[in-house]
Symmetry: C2
Subunit: 380 residues, 2 copies
DNA sequence: TTTTATAGTTTATCAATCGAAATAAGTGCC
DNA sequence: GGCACTTATTTCGATTGATAAACTATAAAA
């Protein structure tokens, strides 16, 4: 779609919102002459637009920004039932939304998704740009070429060539990604971690997802399995002997203690309410049994994050907590454990960001898969 | 020194040893015409040379290879006392070697190193190319711009601008790096992991070093501390309560169980010989106390490696064992623990490579710091 | 010997980019 | 208001790096 130099410009502007031509020359390393030519074409194609003037000494500079309606993207989250479809613009802002109950077979499921696109488009209040890509976030393993779902317990799919199948149904390019990876890409592109080249994310919900941005790019790992932290051996005091067995066959996995399901199960067993919000409430008021359960989960999570920080040395770690866990208590406990287990470095420490999971986070991340292709080109 | 396209050529040839011009056109994506021009210049400058012909159908192709004497590099290891200086050629082969007792102050230490260079050069039997870079591997933290040693307990240095100081002493460019990082770069450039874009290394000696190659590049982490695995919480059965306290203040760190020092200490306490080779011998003949100590160390290491594989998903993990630990027993125990703790993936597993640490591994890695600059350019 | 296949070179050409000069559009001072 | 000064952006000719296509070289196969 664009030349490498144009992608440089789009990337830079997408990161910082708006930039003058001279700013662009500075960050891209291109000459002002080139920037002039390139931006002229991008403005001509409706991708960039001139914004307000910035006055200083001399001639004021003209800020350039992305035209929100130059293109739109569809993000689809298969992470949970129902499937969520989100239409976003070039700024990553949602413009329309819909839900679909999930079908079993992948053919029916994908066909319905494509058939739903016109409805989705019609729901956008304001006019939007042409759909230039579809991103899909799914729970499971994705092949290295990112066309095929190798295996997904949640969906019951194995070896489904999603990109290939969608290509037979419509001619909008499609991109798939593991759900945690989609989520972190969303944060990197349009979220709080904009422009941050080295950070990790860990998302706690019914499962535990984790992903890394290394050197500005998503680190997928050799088999696309980087970030599989659920089965990290996080043995707490008492050793593995007392720990719960995990479905992976080991004992003491993070998953057996720190997912919502694990917390609920522990609460049930202790005769406490299995509703997490209620449990958190009890903990806040000082009920020791409730506190103990949450503390166990938070400690395990903290230890896993500490291991991650030691090995990876990210500049930031984003901890996405399910809304049920939000509030001061749980987050603080995690933070405390991390701090206790990370060795001090001579020049600073990873910063933790506690965040409540957004309702459409996965779908939004999925949309940013397509946005990423549009704005940065294929190489990323 | 070279244009980006020339670096592409040098990189490709360095990886595979020799390539024909047509091969180069294939892997670099450049046209045959460009390759023709570029190689002509590189041959003219004495960097590349024509090797044997390969006959097939049609005109035979001429293999091109790096001229070993086009340049040489000095690698300096401050990892242990004495300091080791190694002179290597473009193939990474050692051509001269010397040792220096380590001096306390950084000024005296660095000055002596520079003064030793003529001696080092004179010890090369065959003539070598001009020294085009000095690489230094040091135990400790290196600043993000890789000019300064932020802090090193072993050396007793803090905030020493090594690169800046060396620039005042001689005008050969110098590059510094953390010792584990230098070691892995050596493996990537001239060792068994040539051409592998995603792998990790863990080196067990008096300390435990770890480093990662991600996407073909060294992953330093935000504060240059990626790979600090020594203090990974590796709690074994029995929980943290029984675990030894670590100098970092925590309990159950990998370092307290799996370094040579830790193994020696455990042996002493059990009334066994503190010589590791002897201990390994006893374990091999079935002495349970000796086996238990080694098993404890190997398990801890295996768990840490399993955590690493889960989080990073490297294609390979190189385990460098001190020569004292070499032999079947210890390595097999590590391997077993790793396999027990890594979750199966749908498309393959990380491969473990057990390797005996080379005597001059760190110095050789340090030399490859400079070689990397020469062959790949500054961007890597 | 002729044909065919593949490797590498030459040459005319193209597209991206640059440096320098020109132009645009303000501020501040008299 | 007018002039000096500053900074942003555009224009233009020149340069560079890479290319396609035609050409030469050199072998195996027929």
């Amino acid at each position: 779609m664009f030349t490498p130099a144009q992608y440089q410009i789009l990337t830079a502007i997408s990161r910082s919102g708006t930039m003058s031509r001279t700013d662009l020359a500075g960050v891209t390393g291109l000459s002002k002459a080139s920037i002039s030519m390139l931006t002229k074409e991008l403005i001509g194609r409706g991708i960039l637009g001139e914004r307000e003037l910035v006055f200083g000494q001399g001639r004021p500079s003209v800020l350039l920004g992305l035209e929100a309606n130059a293109a739109s993207f569809v993000g689809i989250s298969l992470q949970a039932d129902p499937t969520i479809l989100l239409l976003t613009d070039l700024h990553g802002a949602p413009r329309a939304r819909m839900e679909l109950p999930r079908r079993r077979g992948h053919e029916q499921c994908l066909t319905e998704l494509v058939e739903a696109l016109p409805t989705l488009l019609s729901r956008a209040g304001q006019p939007v740009g042409p759909i230039s890509g579809i991103g899909i976030a799914l729970p499971g393993f994705v092949s290295r070429d990112r066309t095929t779902c190798l295996y997904s317990t949640a969906l019951g799919w194995s070896n489904v060539d999603i990109v290939g199948y969608l290509a037979t149904l419509c001619d909008i390019p499609a991109y798939i990604e593991n759900d945690a990876n989609a989520l972190i890409l969303g944060e990197q592109l349009f979220g709080i971690m904009r422009d941050c080249p080295d950070f990790s994310m860990i998302a706690v919900g019914d499962g535990i997802g984790c992903a890394h941005i290394v050197d500005g790019r998503l680190h997928r790992g050799h088999n696309g399995g980087a970030g599989e932290i659920s089965h990290a051996p996080v043995v707490l005091d008492g050793g593995t002997i007392g720990a719960l067995p995990c479905r992976c066959g080991k004992r003491g996995c993070l998953e057996t203690v720190a997912t919502l399901q694990a917390i609920r199960a522990a609460a049930r067993q202790a005769g406490l309410p299995s509703d997490i919000a209620e449990l958190a409430q009890m903990a806040q008021t000082g009920r020791p049994e409730a506190l103990a359960i949450l503390h166990r989960a938070a400690s395990a999570l903290g230890i896993a994050i500490a291991q991650l920080i030691q090995m990876f040395d990210p500049s930031h770690v984003v901890i996405m907590l399910d809304t049920a866990l939000k509030g001061e208590v749980f987050g603080a406990m995690v933070q405390q454990t991390v701090e206790a287990h990370v060795m001090r470095r001579p020049d600073g420490q990873a910063t933790l960001y506690l965040r409540d999971a957004q309702k459409d986070g996965f779908a939004s991340g999925a949309a940013s898969l397509a946005a990423q292709q549009f704005l940065f080109g294929l190489d990323r």
